[in-house]
């Protein structure tokens, strides 16, 4: 699975078109956007909460002196998907970073299909809808990159978050196919799998270890997208941890309390 040797797929750099970052208000996506902005990329950013979106967009523009356009966007509002990829006066998109994620409440979802559906729709269905549009645009142009923030939770289903994990797992398989499809067009597709990151999702939770800062993960996502890598664990040691977890035989794994 190692793809460190792959060439630079995406032609990036100052002067390239804007990068679309969907779901910029999460801590990881904010840090990723900052890494792109620090390298001179103009940004088109979206988020659900208007106040947060405005704050993040203003901050990026002020700190990094790039152009940032903000659009309030709810990924579950599928009607709103049309037109999102149109970067208006900013020129054609040079790439798309998808940072949609909804951990949800596993227990609630087990008893309430609406919550289960929200988890699956946010983490899988909405991503598919957006990525199909992004893929057509970039495929036609014959260059660009797609970078999607997945999760190590997708590497193996476990009782504590299998709805979230299964959606992320489906997304990873989807991205394998998309990568395969877009390769001839020169468009790279990167799957990023962050481990524990110091964000609201992990803060104050029991059993967290080797927690990475959003800034380091954001820089890692930027580098992975820029190099057009295929599958990246952040920090890198999670590749090993998840290999071990995947190696546990299912008859044993099903007895574990994870």
């Amino acid at each position: 699975m190692s793809d460190a040797g792959e060439g630079v797929g995406a032609e990036l750099g100052e002067g390239a078109g804007p990068v679309l970052i969907v779901g910029v208000t999460s801590a990881i996506a904010q840090a990723t956007a900052a890494a792109f902005a620090a390298h001179g990329h103009d940004l088109l950013v979206t988020g659900r909460n208007p106040e947060e979106l405005e704050a993040v967009a203003a901050d990026l523009a002020l700190r990094h002196r790039v152009e940032v356009e903000a659009r309030v966007f709810d990924a579950l509002d599928f009607e709103a998907h049309d037109g999102l990829m149109d970067a208006a006066g900013m020129g054609p998109l040079s790439g798309v970073v998808l940072a949609l994620g909804y951990m949800g409440d596993q227990e609630e979802a087990q008893g309430d299909f609406r919550e289960a559906r929200r988890i699956v729709d946010t983490n899988y269905t909405a991503c598919v809808a957006l990525l199909e549009k992004a893929a057509s645009i970039l495929e036609d142009r014959g260059r660009g990159f797609i970078c999607v923030v997945g999760s190590v939770a997708g590497d193996r289903g476990r009782q504590s978050n299998y709805l979230y994990g299964s959606a992320k797992s489906g997304l990873a398989a989807y991205l394998q196919g998309l990568r395969n499809r877009l390769h001839p067009a020169g468009v790279t597709v990167t799957t990023v799998k962050p481990g524990f990151v110091d964000t609201r999702m992990t803060y104050g939770k029991e059993g967290m270890f080797l927690v990475a800062s959003p800034e380091s993960v954001g820089r890692g996502i930027y580098r992975a997208a820029r190099r057009g890598r295929s599958v990246v664990y952040l920090p890198g040691f999670w590749r090993l941890i998840m290999w071990v977890i995947r190696s546990i035989p299912e008859p044993v794994f099903k007895r574990l309390k994870l």
Binding site: T25, A27, N49, E51, E52, E54, A55, V56, A58, D59, L62, R63, R65, G104, D105, T199, R200, Y203, G204, K205
Partner: protein, 483 residues
């Protein structure tokens, strides 16, 4: 309801609430915290919101006796501690929101560090109107401590440049207050040590600059009288002034100092010097706790002698703003030099008329105690501001770093008495040991502060370890609740 004060009807400045952000109850992390002096250590439950909307959910939703906002933790003692209760870290609410380059007004969230602001505004020709001795102070902390800088004698404190701020009150309302609107709430929040609620955003008036250099004139003073005379002379000439003072020198040399007077360098001056606009920032760090003995009388004396001898009286030296304002930031974690036991910083201001005598007695008291201060800073301050609990008053301020050793408590008590006798006060952002009675005498604005505090926070929901120690909030009520 916010406190009375503004002439406007209540409601006109109340900003509507937010959509809920958190699905479940806000999570906290229980951890031992300290101030920059690394003493005392207290376990607090730390909440860390990532969206502004979470703040009110925490304040109204978390089952806590009391809350205290916290920034970068650069106050020295227990001002940013709330032992066995909740601390709300603002460090993830650190976004720059707008910059009006015509008016020179920056709007930002309270958790942003002053250094981050400088990184963004200096390339655009702006500087913060007041900076303390470190970049690592948040805007919220700067307002809550109503910080002063080397230009206090001319420009006053940070709050003079706050156009307005939004405050999440203990009742969970977001109120915009300023020197014009909800003025009492504004002047209680300024210097209010986080006890009136959470400063969420602020608008700050910036200062125009043309270079990132400071032109510095150095003067040496062989004794305290000479140093004070130099300050008096320099009052009108320079926006920035400060003195490093050798507090081990005694007798006739008591108070010998190196004074630094600065102003923002002009573009021509920097061009003439063939200096590049980029400033260097040192990257040393102290990776371990120094053995407690590293800073002793002998090493400090050697340093002081060397430092005094090193400096020459000279004019118009160009120094980067970073180095002029934040000399110690070049050494990360310099507080570890004092070893695991930590240190206290003692900063007092003494009114002008008897200030010279008071400073002399403080230096003599320190000298007689056998404890030494590695870093001692003297500065002349300008007139008092309007913050109910703001520290500065017209006079001389002396700041001493004193390592924690046997006899420290006795020394601090003696210094407190000297300060009281001379009508001075000590700085809450540095304090770790003052007692309630002395505090009340030093801060005549306490009554006004408490009337606002009681109106806006009748249940005492915002508190700190320092506030309870000093009786700023009604300690007895909270203690009763907690048992």
């Amino acid at each position: 309801m916010p406190a009375s004060g503004g002439a406007r009807s209540p409601g006109s400045n109340i900003i509507e609430g937010f959509d809920p952000i958190l699905k479940s109850h806000p999570r906290f992390r229980s951890e031992p915290l300290t101030g920059w002096g690394r003493f005392p250590v207290e376990t607090c439950r730390v909440y860390r919101p990532e969206a502004r909307g979470e703040l009110s959910e925490i304040v109204t939703g978390a089952a806590e006796d009391s809350f205290l906002p916290r920034g970068l933790g650069r106050s020295y003692g227990d001002a940013a501690l709330n032992g066995d209760a909740a601390v709300i870290s603002l460090l993830r609410l650190d976004r720059l929101l707008s910059l009006d380059e015509d008016e020179g007004v920056l709007e930002c969230e309270a958790g942003v560090g002053l250094g981050d602001i400088l990184d963004a505004v200096v390339p655009r020709g702006f500087f913060l109107p007041v900076v303390p001795g470190t970049r690592f102070v948040t805007v919220g902390g700067a307002i809550a401590s109503d910080i002063h800088g080397k230009n206090h004698h001319r420009d006053g404190t940070f709050s003079r440049f706050v156009v307005d701020l939004t405050l999440l009150t203990p009742g969970g309302e977001l109120v915009r207050c300023s020197p014009e609107v909800y003025r009492d709430l504004f002047w209680a929040t300024v210097g209010g040590m986080g006890l009136t609620g959470i400063i969420v955003t602020a608008r700050i008036r910036l200062h125009h600059i043309t270079t990132r250099y400071i032109s510095v004139d150095y003067r040496k003073a062989p004794d305290l009288d000479a140093a004070l005379a130099l300050f008096d002379e320099a009052d009108d000439q320079y926006p920035y002034s400060v003195a490093w003072i050798d507090c081990l020198s005694r007798g006739r040399a008591l108070g010998r100092s190196v004074l630094m007077f600065g102003e923002h360098a002009t573009r021509e001056r920097v061009k003439d010097a063939h200096l590049d606009v980029a400033s260097s920032r040192a990257r040393l760090s102290v990776p371990f706790d120094a053995p407690g003995i590293a800073l002793n009388r002998i090493s400090v004396r050697a340093f002081n002698t060397f430092y005094y001898a090193l400096h020459r009286t000279r004019d118009d030296a160009l120094v980067s703003a970073d180095r002029f304002f934040f000399p110690l930031d070049g050494v990360r974690d310099w507080n570890r030099l004092y070893g695991r036991r930590g240190f206290v910083q003692y900063q007092a201001v003494l009114p002008l008329d008897r200030g010279g005598e008071g400073v002399r007695r403080l230096l003599e008291g320190l000298s007689a105690s056998g404890l030494s201060s590695f870093l001692a800073v003297l500065k002349k301050m300008g007139p008092e501001g309007d913050g109910h609990l703001s520290f500065p008053m017209e006079g001389y301020t002396l700041a001493l770093d004193i390592p924690r050793r046997r006899g420290l408590g006795k020394l601090l008590g003696a210094l407190d008495r000297i300060v009281l006798d001379h009508g001075g006060r000590i700085y809450l952002a540095k304090d770790a040991s003052l007692v309630a009675g002395a505090f009340r005498q030093m801060y005549p604005g306490l009554d006004r502060f408490q009337s606002v505090k009681n109106a806006i926070d009748p249940d005492g929901l915002f508190s700190s370890s320092q506030a309870r120690r000093l009786g700023i909030t009604d300690a007895s009520r909270k203690e009763g609740d907690r048992s």
